[in-house]
């Protein structure tokens, strides 16, 4: 690579990107989410999906699930950078454990009549999506599954009168008896 006139060393990095799902247990206090997100934006890391909720209210513990991409070195950096934050209890790379389940919930609104409506209902049944709201010209489906399944469902709904989508982002948990 041609070195431009710069005080910094320009290098290309060729390591392939990987996608990892991280589960982060944090003390639920003001600003904790801003700290986590600020770390990602400040250091130029990617967030593909982010899910946050308090999971143990008595202990004020929240669980953040982040899906991120980067080279293996960057993924390791992200984990270390998260781990050293004061309100962070634990960071677990769910992808590395290889024994985790990921789920996402989506609500999908369709508008249409006639054959499109029938076809949408038929597909929804195949995907085990539930109708949670209906009018004579619309449906709202609720679907749960991994992200690929939801993407696939949305793609199928698109020509059938898709109006809008609301997705929760990914939540993940390990298989088996052990907690994180």
């Amino acid at each position: 690579m041609e070195q431009p006139a710069s005080a910094y060393f320009m290098e290309e990095r060729h390591d392939p990107n990987e996608t990892h799902t991280l589960s982060i247990l944090v003390q639920n206090e003001p600003g904790v989410l801003a700290r986590v997100i600020g770390l990602f934006s400040g250091r130029g890391y990617n967030i593909e999906s982010l899910t946050v909720s308090e999971t143990e209210s008595q202990k004020h513990v929240s669980r953040i699930t982040i899906v991120t991409t980067g080279t293996p070195m960057v993924i390791q950096q992200i984990k270390h950078q998260l781990d050293r934050m004061i309100p962070v209890y634990r960071v677990v790379d769910m992808t590395l454990t290889g024994r985790s389940i990921e789920r996402e919930l989506a609500m999908v609104k369709l508008r249409g009549t006639g054959e499109h409506r029938v076809e949408a209902l038929r597909l929804a049944e195949a995907f085990r999506a539930r109708v949670i709201d209906a009018t004579t010209e619309s449906f709202v489906f609720e679907i749960t599954g991994n992200s690929q399944k939801i993407n696939q469902f949305i793609d199928l709904m698109r020509p059938l009168g898709l109006v809008e989508i609301s997705r929760t982002g990914v939540a993940a948990i390990g298989r088996g008896a052990e907690g994180m």
Binding site: Y8, F9, G38, M73, I86
Partner: protein
């Protein structure tokens, strides 16, 4: 005294810059003297006699005293007046009034770096807090423990764009190790104690405690520091893993071409770490180099010392790093000024990395044996294992190679009888001050690199410089902080003419507190490092790197109430330096040096450690070749 305080309190009056919502009583109706515009707290008889019952402002001052703080640096303003009122009424903690909050921050950094204790800063809301952003970032980059207390507008005004309001915790979140906004008086003692704990433990760093004015006025129950004040999620690892240490020792014992590369972490770990590092060097016989931040951990006069490494490091240090087979990195972080191009960094070595911060491991350079822990602890364990299980490897051939690199004399410069060369000035300053109880601070630029190259540091905590952030204007206030901590020592800021003007106002602080800091300015009338890069990389188009209207530093010193010196000739330098040392007042020493001198040796951009440009070879053609891309080199 009580009388004076009373009068002062009345004069200040109840009208703060903020109105407290709870105050319903009209101001004119007030009959009894009050300390502020807040209602008298309702207290039971029992509480009234509890010595730990106090206002938030009093808690802050009490917590400082409980943490052994002797000096704080700060600047008052509306949102911290209750705290300043408490400071006025006690004498355990001495407050140093600076002229700009940035000065307070760097002074606290100098104080911390030279003592190993946390530096403490007190500033007001809004601009007070934003002016602290530079020193906080500086302290974060260089791992300096700072506790910064900021005032904030009252809680009910937060988010209202109130006068002198800013989102302090939002702004300082990325430039602190941690920060807190204290909304309830009940949380204040715990947060204050945790702040000191977080700043000083693990990898040290700056913290901010933002205290709204109503919390400063509110009354609550103080408690002294206790264990439960700290987040249970925060537990830095201090002890190194024994099996990793054993692996490291085995590598060290088998080394043919070893090098020890130490950094600021050794200084941060404490004096014991420097002692252990010296013992390890003695036990192994290995050559040692250090980063800018690590200078002084191993003495510059030591037999195994290679000099500093990196972009402006010595040839022998960089070549040893490039050609070594085992590298022991102790408390350093493979920063880009150190590694040069990472894909050509020390290609054939096994690397051991000791660091307290796991995120430093494998960040820039993949290492083979990471050891997470406090440098002092790990070095102690490592030394023990080495002494018990290994013997000094025979590395005579390696020292032979190093001697050849050394013979290249990479710090050489052409002597001149007419003009003072900056390198010569620092050598003379070093000769005049060695053996004395001296502390050196610097600004940022060429003079900083020359100071690192030519001033020999024998002890840790004697060298204060802005390494990571590269903050011009760091040196003068930092010297101030050092002098406050060491009133009888000789404190010199090796400065550049451009940097020093960024925080020059602190001369006034030095005069006020009779701090005889010596500002030794290498005045080349340029932003020297900028000019050097423009010459080497931008066709010598010296865009805005020349200071057209240089102030008369001698008159400036006198205007502040200090003493000025000006020297043009090499022959006058020694005498003037001796005179400067004798002066017991703040000094501006205007040392006029060669204007176009470049700082060598140098690793050009995109080059590896073994492609250094040496001063003897840095003629125009070689420089042009080394900086391929910079076409119109002059």
């Amino acid at each position: 005294m009580a009388e004076a305080i009373h009068i002062r309190a009345v004069r200040m009056g109840p009208l703060g810059p903020f109105f407290i919502a709870e105050t319903t009583e009209p101001i004119s109706n007030q009959t009894k003297p009050r300390r502020g515009a807040h209602p008298e707290p309702v207290m039971s008889e029992n509480e009234r006699h509890n010595p730990n019952q106090m206002t938030g402002a009093a808690m802050i001052v009490r917590a400082l005293a409980d943490h052994g703080v002797k000096h704080i640096f700060g600047y008052p303003g509306g949102a911290v007046l209750p705290i300043y009122d408490e400071i006025f009424q006690q004498d355990e903690v001495e407050h140093i009034l600076v002229r700009h909050e940035q000065g307070a921050g760097h002074a606290a950094e100098g104080y911390a770096r030279s003592t190993g204790k946390p530096g403490v800063v007190l500033v007001t809301s809004g601009p007070g807090a934003t002016n602290m952003v530079t020193p906080l970032t500086d302290a974060l980059m260089d791992s300096i423990p700072l506790v910064c207390i900021t005032g904030q507008v009252p809680t009910h005004l937060i988010g209202n764009d109130a006068f002198q309001e800013c989102d302090t915790v939002g702004i300082t979140r990325p430039c602190t190790k941690h920060n807190w906004l204290v909304r309830r008086i009940e949380d204040l003692p715990k947060v204050l104690h945790e702040a000191f704990y977080v700043a000083t433990t693990g990898r040290p760093g700056p913290v901010v405690v933002d205290v709204p004015k109503d919390v400063q006025f509110a009354t609550g129950l103080y408690h002294p520091p206790r264990k439960s004040d700290v987040h249970i999620s925060y537990s830095p690892r201090l002890k190194g893993d024994a099996s990793q240490i054993r692996k490291a020792v085995a590598l060290l014992a088998s080394a043919k071409r070893p090098v020890i590369y130490s950094g600021g972490g050794v200084i941060n770990s404490g004096r014991e770490a420097s002692k252990l590092l010296r013992e390890l060097v003695a036990a192994t016989g290995f050559p040692i180099t250090s980063t800018l931040m690590g200078l002084g951990a191993y003495p510059a006069s030591g037999a195994n010392w290679l000099g500093m490494l990196g972009m402006h490091g010595t040839y022998e240090a960089n070549m040893a790093m490039h050609d070594c087979d085992v590298m022991l990195c102790v408390g350093a972080r493979f920063d880009d000024r150190i590694t040069g191009r990472t894909d050509a960094f020390s290609p054939n070595s096994k690397k051991i990395h000791i660091d307290i911060d796991p995120s430093s491991i494998n960040k820039n350079i993949r290492v083979d044996v990471p050891i997470i822990g406090d440098v002092g602890n790990v070095l102690g364990d490592m030394l023990q294992v080495f002494k018990a299980e290994a013997k000094k490897p025979d590395i005579k051939a390696w020292w032979g190679e190093i001697a050849k690199w050394r013979a290249r004399n990479s710090l050489a410069y052409k002597k001149n009888d007419e003009v003072i060369l900056p390198q010569f000035a620092i050598q003379r300053l070093f000769e005049a001050t060695r053996g004395r109880d001296t502390y050196i601070t610097t600004e940022v630029g060429q003079h900083q690199m020359w100071a690192a190259q030519f001033y020999g540091f024998e002890e840790p905590h004697r060298w204060m410089t802005s390494g990571g952030l590269g903050t011009m204007g760091y040196g003068l206030p930092s010297a101030l902080g050092v002098q406050v901590a060491h009133p009888d020592s000789l404190v010199i800021d090796i400065a550049g003419d451009a940097s020093v003007q960024m925080t020059m106002q602190e001369m006034s602080t030095a005069v006020q507190y009779e701090l005889p800091i010596k500002i030794f300015i290498l005045n080349n009338q340029y932003m020297g490092m900028v000019r050097q890069w423009q010459q080497l990389l931008h066709g010598n188009r010296l865009s805005h790197s020349y200071s057209e209207a240089m102030p008369d530093f001698v008159k400036m010193a006198e205007a502040y109430g200090g003493v000025g010196f000006q020297v043009f000739k090499p022959g006058d330098l020694d005498g003037a330096i001796m005179d400067m040392i004798k002066v017991k007042k703040p000094v501006l020493f205007d040392c006029r040096v060669a204007t176009l001198e470049n700082c060598f040796p140098m690793i050009p951009s995109g080059k590896a450690h073994n492609e250094m440009l040496l001063p003897a070879e840095a003629n125009d053609e070689a420089t042009a070749a080394a900086f391929a891309g910079g076409k119109a080199l002059v």
